[in-house]
Amino acid sequence: MSARDRELAGLVLAGLVAGLALASVAIAREGSLSPRAAAFAAGFFALYLTAHAVARRTVPYADGGLLPLAAVLTGVGVAINERLDPAGGARQALWVAIGVGVLVATLIVLRRDYRVLESYRYLFGIAAVLLLLLPSVPGLGERVNGVRLWVQAGPLQFQPGELAKICLIVFLAGYLREKRETLAQGRLKDLGPLLAIWGAAMLVVVQTNDLGSALLNFGIFLAMLYVATGRALYVGVGLGLFAGGAALLYTALQHVRDRVTIWLEPWTDERVYCALNGRLELRQDCASYQLVKSLYSIANGGFGGTGLGRGTFAAPDGTELIPFLRTDFVYSALAQELGLVGVSALLLCYLLFVVRGMRIALRAGDGFSKLLAAGLTFGFALQTFVIVGGVLRVVPLTGITLPFLSYGGTSVLANFLLLAGLLLVSNRAAAPR
């Protein structure tokens, strides 16, 4: 059985999971299977079959597990978006379709040798910085939830941070491949770029108030630096710098302090000052309202969950009980409806994706490919950790998206680019020479 045959079998399985999820939502809402849900599922399956067909032509030796895993996650993502907003499923499905289109296009364009990217590494580096700073440009940036993450371009909202992450990884793979010997010697002057990037990460936090993507990008940078040089000292120094910077930001920025307070003490027994309405309120009714409500949603799922489509997200009069359910808190919606069993299965999908990605990095033949695959995979894992960990109160909550599951166009596109990168690297590594 070739990798592609395994991929096809996996896609059939993923199609079944996605179909069942959509059917469950439709039955919970309308009492029966609607033609709309069936059409949805069929279209979804056809979409991934197209991707599979292109993969057969362009990357025949690529890992066969990644595409089915992405299909399961996006399938559940479409289902939960359909569940939370009747129009949301179709829109999310459209974004997945565009994402698959981007995947196919990337595979076709780079099918001969993706390593040409290495020669454009500085271009990617500049692009990453520009994309990161884009939301801070006056007139373009959009503040959502006190965080500048969005860019408004006509009717489209655009989250450039997601694409910046991919650009950053490509840049770092190229840059570190070139400089890894000199960096490994550990002379002080070589630490210059490290300090520069640390400064940039902090600058972005100050500019955008976005702790999540700062943590994410800096984490990716340290991980790739470590893989390239093998010096744990860099990681230690880097983490120390990040901790120092974070402490500095904590004392300097009220926004950061609030996030940490909410994280450490979401519930209070006595009323504290509430900045939202200027009165004294319990913190769970004010600053930590979102986090606490999301935890209630998770707890309500219990072991087996309420069943997809049968969770409680709104009061009988229609008022929403959990804010930002489709973006930041999609995990808590899933946790309520799928229960511990269901979300553990989803987390297992993320875990498998990461294992396969790292295996690709191990098997890749050249430094650039290794760094690229390891960077993309670690970025994927860390992003999942930061957002889900935020929802679960492991780390302070930040507003980044859950790969393949959250509603949002840019996020879906970026993750399909990431998938394309891993497929290309694995195809080259496994190809007979």
Partner: protein
């Protein structure tokens, strides 16, 4: 580079493993605690799909809380209705989608929603869910006597106050009334109407359960506890004689009797309680010391929330209060024992606590644990909870109880409490008039026990408190106590 990649893999997997562990924590370990939180609207709304157990009064058996079904977005939801509205609002409480719960609706929520962990109920629940039937909760039968409850609420009228009546032999609470009351059916939709309720006191606070959480100056009703402490100490007998000059000297200051116009001269301890002579109790208090009196109060249940089935937030402990917190003096000199002995000096008590005191005196010193739940029944009819009468402790010796009971009976026969006389029954009572510092705005009390003969334990104990009164406990509270006692003893005769 491969060694580093392997290590990075381990880090990545560890990060994701943390997520699995923490999800498990929130969904299993922490879930019950989160479900109990009052601001957990999700849980509250989710529980609307459960057919909540009904709540009944004991006699006559009536539904105090029932359900109405409504279809919302294709699912059947159950909303609460309270047929008797204000009559049982505080003890039953309310359960709504929008607001937090109160009363038994809150404290017995696990029973009412069928969430109590018990193998057979778990199986029943799972079967109901599989069949697509709504889960049914357990029914609660309270110990409330609805007729006496109505007599009490009507007798209070527009006055602010509370009535608590219980069977001191078993601890079963028959009447639990707080005035002003409110209509729990309005909580969800017309809450503003509740906040506009007015009554004859400065802060009507209709949601406050004055019967179990209202803290009042006990006034002369506290003399029952001082008298008990005096007799228990062995230093006094009911015949111990005192000279009453009409006042008592505390740290060189005069503390006058309530009625200073006619000092009693030489008087026995017994008659001092019958006529409620402050100076005598003031001197007894100074002699015994604050700690000994407080120790006796503790034996009656002070300094603890009385163990009732309602939420603990809706029950207050009686005792000395300082800055709104319970306060235990370390030295006798920390507290003015003379003033405390007749119920002033920052002593604050709840009506429930004083009913327990009267009950213990009426039953030979046996203080029973109060209950408001008669039994809890699964939909199939199986009883899951039936509280047994439980002795909290011997508050006083039988001899002391009998002596104090005799004093209280005499007070009703020929002393301050004659308004509570009830032909055919033996009633012992004590009046109280707590001064709040505002002239013409006293807190008036009457606590009593009643039975069929002096030799048998009392059948009913009662505490009545009224706020903002110009009269005395004897003229304002005693008639209410009499009416409620009559209703309770009548229903005991014709069950």
């Amino acid at each position: 580079m491969n060694r580093q990649i392997v290590r990075l893999t381990h880090v990545s997997l560890a990060l994701l493993a943390v997520l699995v562990v923490m999800t498990t924590y929130w969904q299993t370990w922490a879930a019950p605690g989160l479900a109990d939180r009052q601001d957990n609207a999700i849980r509250r709304v989710a529980e609307l799909a459960i057919e909540r157990g009904l709540i009944f009064s004991f006699a006559p058996r009536r539904r105090l809380a029932r359900n109405v079904e409504r279809e919302v977005d294709g699912s059947t939801l159950f909303f609460r209705r309270y047929p008797y509205g204000p009559l049982t609002a505080h003890v039953v409480g309310y359960s709504t989608a929008g607001r937090s719960r109160t009363g038994l609706e809150r404290s017995l929520n696990d029973y009412l929603t069928g969430a109590t962990d018990n193998l057979s109920s778990v199986v029943d629940k799972a079967l109901d869910e599989l069949r697509g039937r709504p889960v049914r909760g357990s029914d609660v039968v309270t110990t409330i006597d609805l007729d006496a409850q109505r007599v009490a609420l009507e007798a209070l009228g527009t006055r602010c106050g509370a009535v608590v009546a219980l069977d001191p032999r078993t601890g079963k609470v028959r009447v639990l009334v707080s005035s002003p009351s409110f209509d729990p059916n309005l909580v969800e939709t017309r809450f503003a109407q509740i906040s506009r309720i007015t009554a004859d006191c400065a802060s009507p606070a209709p949601l406050l359960d004055r019967a179990t959480a209202g803290l009042y100056v006990p006034g002369s009703t506290f003399k029952v506890i001082t008298a008990s402490a005096a007799l228990e100490s062995g230093k006094y007998t009911p015949e111990s004689s005192f000279f009453d000059p009409g006042y008592c000297l505390v740290y060189g200051k005069r503390v006058s009797n309530f009625d200073t116009s006619r000092p009693f001269g030489t008087i026995s301890l017994e008659n001092a309680l019958v006529h409620s002579v402050n100076s005598v109790f003031c001197n007894v208090g100074l002699k015994l010391g604050a700690k000994r009196i407080l120790e006796q109060a503790r034996r009656f249940g002070f300094y603890q929330r009385p163990p009732l089935e309602t939420p603990s937030e809706e029950r207050a402990a009686s005792g000395l209060y300082r800055n709104r917190k319970l306060y235990t003096p370390r030295l006798d000199s920390d507290v003015d024992a003379g003033r405390m002995a007749f119920g002033q000096e920052r002593m604050l008590v709840t009506p429930l606590q004083m009913a327990m005191v009267a009950g213990a005196i009426g039953t030979g010193g046996r203080l029973m644990e109060p209950h408001v739940v008669e039994r809890i029944v699964r939909p199939g009819g199986r009883v899951v909870l039936r509280p047994r009468p439980k002795l909290l402790r011997e508050a006083v010796s039988e001899e002391t109880a009998q002596a104090v009971a005799r004093m209280m009976r005499l007070a009703v026969e020929r002393g301050t409490g004659t308004a509570a006389r009830l032909s055919g029954f033996v009633v012992g009572g004590k009046t109280g008039t707590g001064e709040t510092g505002v002239p013409g705005s006293n807190t008036t009390w009457f606590i009593a026990f009643a039975g069929r003969s002096e030799d048998e334990p009392a059948e009913v104990a009662i505490a009545v408190v009224l706020e903002n009164q110009s009269g005395t406990g004897g003229t304002t509270a005693a008639p209410i106590a009499r009416a409620v006692l009559e209703a309770l003893l009548a229903s005991a005769e014709n069950p």
